[in-house]
């Protein structure tokens, strides 16, 4: 189902839109992850289908036996959040594999696959979101400070 299409990017034979963005895994692992990232068509009987809330909810596809591997569906999100999360997830030592895909361009959702060394995947994803938030907060405060400094300097120069 999955073939290699250059370094880091893997494509599916069946659907032209179905690509993986830089999964840091071996071929067999990618196949395993690919099966899950693909979404609905690969549900196995052991997998739970969690629908938390209504339309704005996140869906989690994982298995009851193994909490350490899950696929999360984020509705109304795109590369903006998914790629940033992929970065923070990959930087977490508890994560063995992670990647994301947008199953179809006309569908506003993104699937994020997280496989961990043992910790529950949703906890790890939550922590990654937290990391990204803290990172953003630091960017914001540093930026505001830099702008304020620049304005002050400019003010003193023109005097």
């Amino acid at each position: 189902m999955v073939s290699s299409a250059g370094e880091g990017v893997r494509m599916c034979h069946i659907c032209p839109y179905y690509t993986f963005l830089s999964l840091k895994v071996s071929y067999s692992e990618t196949k395993e992850a690919a099966k899950h990232i693909g979404g609905e068509q690969c549900h196995q009987s052991t997998h739970r289908f969690l629908l938390l809330g209504h339309k704005q909810s996140k869906m989690e596809h994982g298995s009851y036996q193994d909490q350490s591997a899950s696929t999360f569906t984020l509705p109304d999100e795109d590369h903006t959040l998914a790629n940033a999360l992929r970065f923070t997830l990959n930087q977490d030592p508890r994560v063995t594999v992670c990647g994301y895909s947008i199953p179809h361009p006309s569908e506003a959702r993104v699937n994020i696959r997280v496989q961990t060394t043992g910790d529950p995947a949703n906890e790890v994803l939550k922590d990654s979101c937290q990391d990204l938030m803290l990172l953003c907060q630091h960017v914001r405060s540093t930026f505001d400070q830099a702008v304020a400094d620049f304005k002050n300097n400019k003010g003193s120069e023109s005097e």
Partner: protein
């Protein structure tokens, strides 16, 4: 293959990366045929064999992250983001372009238009005019909402080119007049004979917008000087334009930036001294004048990299055979030169802060749903 005893294998450096790997990690090399090492190494265990932890440590990030403002005016801004990953910088860029709200003209009620420009083309042109108002003062209008003073801005355009003048006249964006009390056009009513019912307009403002403290001495305007259309003698345009709040992902007219982009900091290295005629040749090769010549004394002239930031990586300097070894072009992977051009609704520094805020909100939403 002969067996090598374990003790004879070269010792891998521990706890630090060898130079060539560090180079792969922190720089993109721009070679003659194609750039290499373009992919980020973000996996936390990528250098585990060398005892190097590649995971994200926030205190480390806080220590290394820097912002340098290069240029700042009311409309555009250039700044350096140093020590951040491309995926985060790109998230900011994408949010700036498509997920920050602004006000833009969405509905145009044409009472009269004898201009040669078709109504739909005219409406499209009006939609693209930036409105100089802070969108945070307004609410979104959903499908079932009635246009009111909280979610709609109404502009009027009435322009006539007199037949007598015999000249063509140009209609500019600043000919749009703000109507703080809302639409002046009456809704067609079914039983107009009923005198008790108050005639209704296309908007239902309960109060005039210019009585709000934000707009009291600060009328809402659009960017002046944009040509909307030209009218010939005898032609006339009379219309009302209703602006609402929206996002750039719906239509580019709601994008608060003309554009927002970044580039990685170029790095130009001369591994060996280039002197004499070759130095002059190198200086002449570069179309953006990255190189200079310095006098070494005794008439020896050496090429130096004076303005690496100006480099566009056109690779003209390494195009000729043999030059690829003399000049190394690289990009610093975690140094972004970010440029924001605002359309005027909000100053660029506010836009960036808002964009970061939106990414934070997205994370928070995911956390809330997961817990």
């Amino acid at each position: 293959m002969p067996k090598i005893p374990l003790s004879d294998l070269p010792v891998l450096p521990q706890n630090h990366l060898p130079l060539h790997i560090l180079l792969q990690k922190t720089r993109v090399s721009c070679n003659n045929d194609a750039p290499t090492n373009t992919e980020d190494i973000i996996y936390s265990g990528a250098y585990a064999a060398m005892g190097v932890d590649n995971s994200l440590r926030l205190d480390e990030f806080r220590k290394n992250f820097k912002v340098k403002v290069i240029k700042l005016s009311e409309e555009d801004m250039e700044f350096d983001l140093i020590g951040i990953d491309a995926s985060i910088a790109n998230a900011f860029r994408r949010i700036l372009i498509s997920e920050l709200p602004t006000m833009a003209i969405e509905k145009v009620l044409v009472a009269n238009s004898s201009s040669v420009v078709q109504d739909e083309v005219l409406a499209h042109r009006l939609g693209l005019i930036p409105i100089q108002v802070d969108p945070r003062l307004f609410e979104y209008m959903s499908e079932n909402d009635v246009p009111n003073e909280k979610n709609t801005i109404v502009f009027k355009l009435h322009f006539k080119c007199e037949r007598k003048s015999g000249e063509r006249r140009t209609v500019y964006s600043h000919d749009l007049k703000w109507l703080p009390s809302g639409s002046e056009y009456m809704l067609p009513t079914e039983n107009s004979s009923d005198p008790s019912s108050k005639p209704k307009t296309y908007t239902s403002f309960t109060s005039s917008q210019d009585s709000l403290p934000e707009f009291l001495n600060n009328p809402i305007t659009v960017t002046p000087g944009i040509i909307i259309t030209k009218l010939g003698p005898g032609q006339e345009i009379e219309l009302e334009a209703h602006a609402v709040k929206g996002l750039g992902q719906t239509h580019a007219k709601w994008s608060p930036v003309a554009t927002a982009w970044y580039r990685m900091l170029p790095e130009v290295i001369l591994p060996r001294d280039i002197i004499g005629e070759a130095a002059q040749k190198l200086v002449n090769k570069c179309p953006v004048k990255v190189f200079d010549i310095e006098d070494m004394g005794d008439g020896v002239k050496r090429a130096t990299v004076a303005r690496p930031r100006a480099c566009t990586l056109c690779r003209e300097c390494i195009r000729e055979p043999g030059w690829e070894n003399k000049v190394e072009l690289r990009r610093v992977r975690d140094h972004f030169i970010f440029t924001i051009e605002s359309t005027g609704a909000m100053p660029p520094e506010v836009l960036f802060t808002e964009a970061v805020q939106i990414l934070e909100d997205k994370c928070e939403r995911v956390i809330t749903v997961l817990s």
